[in-house]
């Protein structure tokens, strides 16, 4: 993505992405999602709307779920990023993925990486899961295929049933 011949301003950024340190010189305007997909080849993160509504592009930035389509990569110099490609690296992550599959939480799979990253964050962050917080988080993801029943079931089974 940086082959433009009039070479606009380039910035050096360093991040830890899925546990690996990376360093790149990028255009200032490069979005995080394009940095991940194009510079690093991590294409599991998907662009569904490019303005932060649909949630498909969700990744974890310093452990917090964030929309990679409305963040500039250069703003995140020094950050730790986790994407869908890293989830299966841990046993707990594998359990979450298996639960998603078992509960039929996906059909076409395009929105799925974003939903999974939100669930990974909730699973880690919330000690006493709060029903409203979980619902709000899942409502931040649009899925056009499943009608959400399988997603909700996967969330429930992962976090423990919370008043649904």
């Amino acid at each position: 993505m940086n082959s433009s011949a009039d070479s606009p301003t380039r910035l050096d950024v360093e991040m830890v992405v899925n546990g690996e340190p990376v360093r790149r010189a990028i255009e200032a305007r490069t979005l995080l999602i394009d940095f991940l997909r194009t510079e690093l080849g991590l294409t599991g993160t998907h662009n569904g709307c490019s303005y932060g509504v649909c949630g498909a592009c969700t990744v974890l930035v310093n452990g917090v779920a964030a929309r990679s389509c409305i963040a500039l990569a250069a703003q995140l110099d020094g950050a730790t990023i986790e994407t869908i490609e890293s989830v299966s690296h841990t046993e707990r992550g594998q359990e979450i993925l298996e639960t998603f599959s078992r509960c039929r939480g996906l059909q076409c799979g395009f929105c799925t990486p974003g939903v999974v990253m939100t669930l990974v964050e909730l699973d880690r962050r919330i000690e006493t899961p709060n029903r409203d917080e979980i619902e709000d988080s899942i409502d931040g993801h649009l899925c056009r295929c499943t009608g959400y029943a399988g997603i909700k079931e996967a969330v429930d089974q992962t976090l423990g049933r919370v008043g649904r």
């Binding site: 709307c49 599959s101 039929r104 799979g109 619902e135 295929c145 009608g147 959400y148």
Partner: protein
């Protein structure tokens, strides 16, 4: 890790391959300059600054490419192929259809906001976007058509070189409707409107065209439901021999109809790739999806129903107008589907339907999940409820009285289906299905309020012609290691084909599922194919795979019965081997079996070319699925907000190939139906400017708005295919707007509210409540 569907491992670990995930060295990126006015004459296009921008590889306008990339004519996809037989059956007096040619890039005239005018190829999408901003297009406004009735006026501007703006006017009837209406004791008439909506798969459209390293051919990856038809359309548009063209639908992030026609961009990108000699990629953004992928529904019905003293339906008369926007690539499909499904589950002895499609300056319209049926069910099931209320019938009882029962099957409706064949319901018990749904939902005529909010029940039933032809293909190649490769023209956008179709082949061949690999949606793997649309893949591709698998079994049975001197009937295909029943010593693994057919054995027997089979399932006509939905809602009379308290579906798609996949299709379909019922309204102002082409203002449901649907299956076998099944892909969506709006009316039964248009937004409901009388 253990995964339920075979698709899941790659999709859940970020290794899915959607078209934008495929990168090829040297690729350039296309962006389009799109019209910002709905109707106008292009005066001047200045691309000089864009051309001069470093990183730009090419800039093209309509006049520059018109001789190289042919405009798109009417699509043969889905129903196009049936248009001639249908008109032949209906006869010359039934009506007419007109088709407009759709330019790849606009020439002289623009006809909708979003129409592509200029294309730019650049080193990366950012630079391409920069170049787009440097193009200067001057357009002289022409009067925009934003309303189909205004477009029908005598003095309306003409969008094409036609005597008026009508692109389809057709009538179909059975019985003597006019006579029945003149003497019927009860007649109810209303205007009912299904709003325009957007398919909005989470992945938009996208194309990557890669010239072959050797050979002068090209491989096109497209986010499409119809790779074979896209191949044919590209070959025709740029005059490329089919053998030099391979079209692949990789992982596709939802379709729902938006990807079921060939698009201008899909034909243009391969031409650019051949012209530049480089891989070329175009990825649709969300705005482009709203303004340049098809919209759908957008029908206004003027419908009337005639009832006897006891509530028996005597006849239905309907004239509906479809606003098809600037182009209607599938012409007759959506309106005729509406006509063919209007009578639905009920005996309607006298039926007359006129359909008028009108061109306007909105984006093109084409079928979306349900494809004319949700509009039909909305008109029919709403007019039934309104008539029941007007004339004092109980909606549930009235429906049961009129619904077709098992002993009336096969039931002839009296009009042709859109394949030209007579509509004959082949299976089902519509009355029993409805009664089961009513029982599960515990429907009552006067439900108690929920936390102060009035509560209502809504019912809607439907039939759906599924598994339409003309055919679907399956080719099975047995490999020497004892595995099978199954190729079919049907391709998945989330329907679990890899799991379900592999299982059909595995069960027939006696192979474990992990030894069957599915290659769907690749014209390089199967020469013929039709695609995934119209609730057809399980029926037609599933049947073709079954037939091809049986052909393999038959070839092996002939060979082994000769070798072992046993009857073919004594052979058992199971557990990855073929054995003689009751004789454990006589068995052979699949890889040994395939060895018998291998040309490597060096025998000059011409049949020893390996072991393969191909089958093309050609259905005689569609097979009818049916079902009943009952929904319970609470309406907040202060805010107008509707909450769905319970949703019950009883559905008959025959024997279930995979219950969880079927349930997933229904649950997901209901969610889209709830969107159309309560939220989704692709709106345009009087200048035909889109008002909400984004996910902020165009609301698709999120998790909180969609209940867990209670689903029951009512299984009757179809006699029209070897699996006995009926399609299910669209079913969940079809009756939802009707059922939900019926429930809202029921909840507000004491307040004189009648909702006649989707979506029933809070604003609409509070406005109707304020009026306190029918809208």
């Amino acid at each position: 890790m253990k995964f339920t569907r075979r698709e899941d491992e790659r999709l859940l670990t970020g290794r899915g391959r959607y078209v934008d995930d495929i990168d090829v060295p040297g690729q350039v990126h296309i962006r389009f300059v799109r019209s910002q006015v709905a109707h106008g004459r292009i005066r001047k296009i200045d691309v000089s600054d864009a051309r001069a921008l470093p990183g730009v590889y090419g800039v093209w306008t309509g006049p520059e490419i018109i001789d190289h990339v042919q405009p798109l004519g009417p699509s043969k996809a889905d129903g196009g192929v049936f248009e001639d037989p249908l008109f032949a059956v209906l006869g010359p007096d039934a009506g007419f259809i007109r088709h407009a040619q759709r330019p790849i890039l606009a020439v002289d005239i623009v006809r909708y906001v979003g129409e592509p005018i200029v294309a730019i190829a650049a080193s990366d999408p950012y630079v391409a976007e920069d170049a787009v901003s440097l193009v200067d297009v001057s357009i002289d406004d022409l009067p925009p058509l934003s309303d189909p009735f205004a477009a029908l006026a005598d003095d309306a501007v003409r969008l094409y070189d036609w005597p008026d703006n009508v692109c389809l006017d057709l009538e179909v009837s059975t019985g003597d409707v006019d006579a029945v209406f003149s003497r019927a004791p009860h007649v109810t008439r209303r205007q009912l409107h299904s709003a325009r909506v957007s398919c909005s798969p989470l992945e938009g459209r996208g194309v990557l065209a890669v010239p072959d390293v050797v050979g002068g051919g090209i491989t096109v990856y497209s986010s499409t439901q119809i790779p074979h038809m896209v191949r044919d359309a590209i070959a025709e548009a740029i005059e490329l021999p089919q053998r030099r063209l391979r079209v692949v639908a990789p992982d596709v992030g939802g379709g729902f109809g938006a990807k079921a026609i060939p698009y201008p961009e899909e034909l243009f990108v391969p031409w650019v790739a051949l012209t530049l000699g480089r891989p070329v990629k175009w990825i649709e953004d969300r705005y482009e999806h709203f303004v340049s992928a098809i919209g759908s529904r957008d029908q206004i019905h003027d419908i009337e129903i005639a009832l006897d003293h006891d509530g028996t339906i005597l006849g239905v008369r309907d004239h509906f107008v479809s606003d098809v926007g600037a182009f209607s690539p599938l012409g007759v499909v959506q309106p005729y589907n509406t006509a063919a499904h209007l009578a639905g589950c009920y005996r309607v002895p006298n039926l007359k339907i006129r359909m008028t499609s009108v061109v306007t300056n909105k984006p093109p319209l084409s079928p979306y999940r349900g494809a004319g049926r949700p509009e039909a069910v909305f008109a029919m099931e709403r007019i039934i409820d309104i008539a029941c209320r007007e004339h004092g019938f109980e909606p549930a009882e009235m429906r049961c009285r009129n619904a077709i029962t098992a002993d009336e099957i096969p039931y002839s409706v009296g009009i042709p289906y859109r394949d030209g064949r007579p509509i004959v319901y082949d299976s089902g018990d519509f009355a029993a299905c409805l009664e089961q749904a009513l029982e599960i939902a515990e429907i009552v005529s006067d439900p108690v309020p929920d936390r102060g909010r009035p509560v209502g029940f809504g019912i809607a039933c439907y039939v759906e012609g599924t598994g339409i032809g003309p055919f679907e293909s399956a080719e099975i190649e047995m490999l020497e290691d004892g595995t099978a490769v199954v190729a079919t023209g049907a391709c998945s956008q989330g329907q679990s084909h890899e799991t379900v179709f592999a299982r059909i082949a595995a069960d027939t061949l006696g192979l474990s599922e992990d030894r069957v690999m599915l290659a769907g949606g690749d014209t390089g793997a199967s020469s013929f194919g039709w695609g995934t649309l119209a609730s057809r893949s399980a029926v037609v591709a599933g049947s073709a795979i079954r037939q091809a698998s049986e052909n393999i079994v038959q070839q092996v049975a002939e060979e082994l019965s000769r070798l072992w001197e046993v009857s073919p009937d004594d052979l058992v295909f199971a557990d990855n081997e073929v054995a003689v029943i009751g004789t454990p010593a006589m068995s052979m693994s699949w890889s040994e079996v395939i060895g018998l057919f291998s040309p490597k054995r060096g025998r000059s027997d011409a049949t020893r070319n390996g072991l393969s089979a191909s089958a093309h399932f050609v259905p005689e006509t569609v097979t009818f699925a049916n079902g009943a939905h009952v929904v319970k809602v609470a309406v907040d009379t202060d805010t107008g907000q509707v909450e769905i308290l319970d949703y019950v579906v009883v559905h008959d798609c025959g024997p279930l190939l995979d219950e969880e996949v079927v349930d997933g299709q229904i649950q997901g379909g209901v969610a889209q139906g709830i969107g159309a019922a309560l939220f989704e309204d692709l709106a345009f102002d009087v200048d035909a400017q889109p008002l909400n082409p984004n996910f902020i203002d165009y609301i698709i449901p999120s998790g909180s708005e969609v209940p867990d649907v209670r689903i029951e299956h009512f299984e009757t076998r179809s006699p029209r295919n070897p699996l006995g099944i009926k399609g299910v892909g669209e079913a969940g969506t079809i009756p939802v707007p009707a059922a939900v709006l019926n429930a809202i009316d029921h909840a507000l039964r004491d307040r004189g509210v009648e909702v006649v248009r989707t979506p029933a937004t809070p604003k609409m409901i509070t406005t109707l409540l304020a009026k306190g009388r029918p809208s």
